[in-house]
Subunit: 330 residues, 2 copies
């Protein structure tokens, strides 16, 4: 198994990314191909003991930055770590590409080098999201800010196939994010997508209000990339607000400080169950290759997990599942 890691992608690249790559190579016993400027990556690798690990470096002189206009970035920077990395997948020299960089840039590079799966109108970004019942899978979380109803139908088909095959959820319940539970609620886009999803072969359970997502009502959450992006970033923000307010209130009383100490391991467990970095891999669904995009603020552990998601997506036949799902719907 050979997974490409974009050494230059992410807010803490290359240092933290290379560290995460070393961790992944060690923990999963796989080859992690680091793509980036040779000297830069070599210098980072030298900080770690990589004895016995498989961590080849492939040189790429350019970087697609967070500030680059996504749609033009790949064509403008043909020697960027993203384009060079996608080429390795395209040419069969690697099984998957992973990056914590500009998600729009990753999409552009994937479209430029790998292209779309036949029949797919728009590839989408997805992510796993913690819920009361375990987890759900949200698609799109940022690739497509303006959508047509048929895109949302296809997001549902792809995400459902991924959830079933890679995440191991049988007959996943598919819901669509809306501003009310009742049929008939929604903006123009959602109302029309609702109609298409209802007619499809998916296990469609209807509209989801915001609160229904963390409650775990659906296994697959379909939404346009604008709303989906709000969902994941707002959830992070609310969780962090709660933790901070709790800290502030606890600090006000010595008794509460003692209490928090006694409950420490339980609180740590809460954090780990809801930790964003545990779920760091977001497959780019619909491009003709396994591409995983991680959170820009990924720490080394999140990078390691992103590589793991790439590995598992290959092992479990993500691409074949998507192709079958779309072929069955047309």
């Amino acid at each position: 198994m050979r997974i490409v890691l974009d050494a230059m992608g992410g807010d803490y690249a290359p240092e933290v990314v290379v560290e995460g790559g070393v961790m992944a190579a060690r923990e999963y016993g796989i080859e992690v191909v680091l793509v980036g400027p040779q000297e830069v990556v070599d210098a980072e690798l030298a900080k770690h003991d990589t004895t016995g690990l498989s961590l080849p470096v492939v040189h790429a002189s350019q970087v697609i930055e967070m500030t680059d206009e996504p749609s033009m970035s790949a064509r403008k920077k043909k020697d960027s770590s993203m384009v060079v990395g996608m080429n390795l997948v395209k040419n069969g020299e690697a099984d998957a590409f992973t990056t914590a960089g500009n998600s729009g840039g990753a999409l552009a590079a994937a479209l430029f080098r790998l292209g779309r799966i036949k029949g797919i109108k728009r590839p989408a970004l997805s992510t796993v999201f913690p819920t009361q019942k375990g987890l759900c899978f949200i698609c799109d979380v940022g690739a497509n800010t303006d959508c047509r109803p048929v895109y949302l139908l296809q997001f549902g088909i792809m995400a459902s196939a991924y959830a079933e095959r890679v995440l191991g959820i049988p007959n996943p319940r598919v819901g669509i994010v809306s501003n009310g539970e009742e049929e008939g609620k929604g903006n123009i886009l959602v109302k029309e997508a609702f109609r298409l999803l209802k007619k499809s072969d998916l296990n469609f359970i209807g509209n989801l209000e915001g609160k229904d997502i963390p409650a775990g009502l659906a296994d697959v959450v379909v939404t346009d990339g604008f709303s989906g992006n709000i969902v994941i970033k707002l959830s992070e923000g609310v969780a962090s607000l709660l933790m901070r307010v709790m800290e502030e209130e606890i600090k006000k009383s010595p008794m509460a400080v003692l209490g928090a100490l006694l409950a420490r391991s339980a609180l740590r467990e809460v954090k780990s169950r809801l930790d964003y970095s545990e779920y760091a891999g977001a497959p780019l669904l619909g491009v003709d290759g396994v591409v995983i995009v991680g959170h820009g603020r990924s720490n080394a552990k999140a990078i390691k997990n992103m590589v793991r998601v790439g590995k598992e997506s290959v092992e479990k036949g993500m691409l074949e599942a998507l192709k079958e799902g779309i072929a069955g719907s047309v």
Copy 2:
């Protein structure tokens, strides 16, 4: 001060609504006019000691249900509690109308009886939202699922005026919900609204990512009603997820249970700081009258707070502030 309360609005109406109305009349020493079927409301009132309180009942035979199609509801149900209640405000017999019922129905009834403030294209629903720094004010949270850029500009103007005058926030910082912080991020609607807000006289601070809302980066959060509705309902859901996961983890260890007991008052304080029902009143901005819409699942305390928001909005001259704000922008 005379505030109308829709006795039939809300998931737990009329019982819990009348209870909240009695609480409001007692706590604020104001007249709370209950609108609904006379016998039903009288029967509820009889359950309480209302000695010395001013709680007149105005009969209305119909109810706009949650399942009613909002836009037609008011015209179809002219003797509904919402239409009858709005009439009291229209005719100067009451200062404000409050309801925890169908928000789309309230909007329709307000438009039907009170009309819009001159210059306003679309009235909007707003709400106060807890943040790390205190609170922010979000508009729209559900009245307009499909918007044009100029609506969002007007939401900003109205919400900023309300925040300054009624909530007492000087020169409120106005942000727009988007899928990234950088200028240029957003869907087509947000990009164009960004341009309009930037040109306006508002204290516009630019795009807000989901996480920036609970972090308290802005005092006024502008968004279309579809996304805004997701923001408030998702936040509720994430907070409730966190609380449940915490409870589950604490129950697993006797030491943690003891810890939670010691930290009990701090945890109670966290809940109260983030409690949705403390912020139950959402002004309907842009209609020509003070109309406050509460959460459908409002308990008696939330109903009481909704009436309080109505009272304060009248006292602080909400309507005049909005009219001045819009007049200044045209």
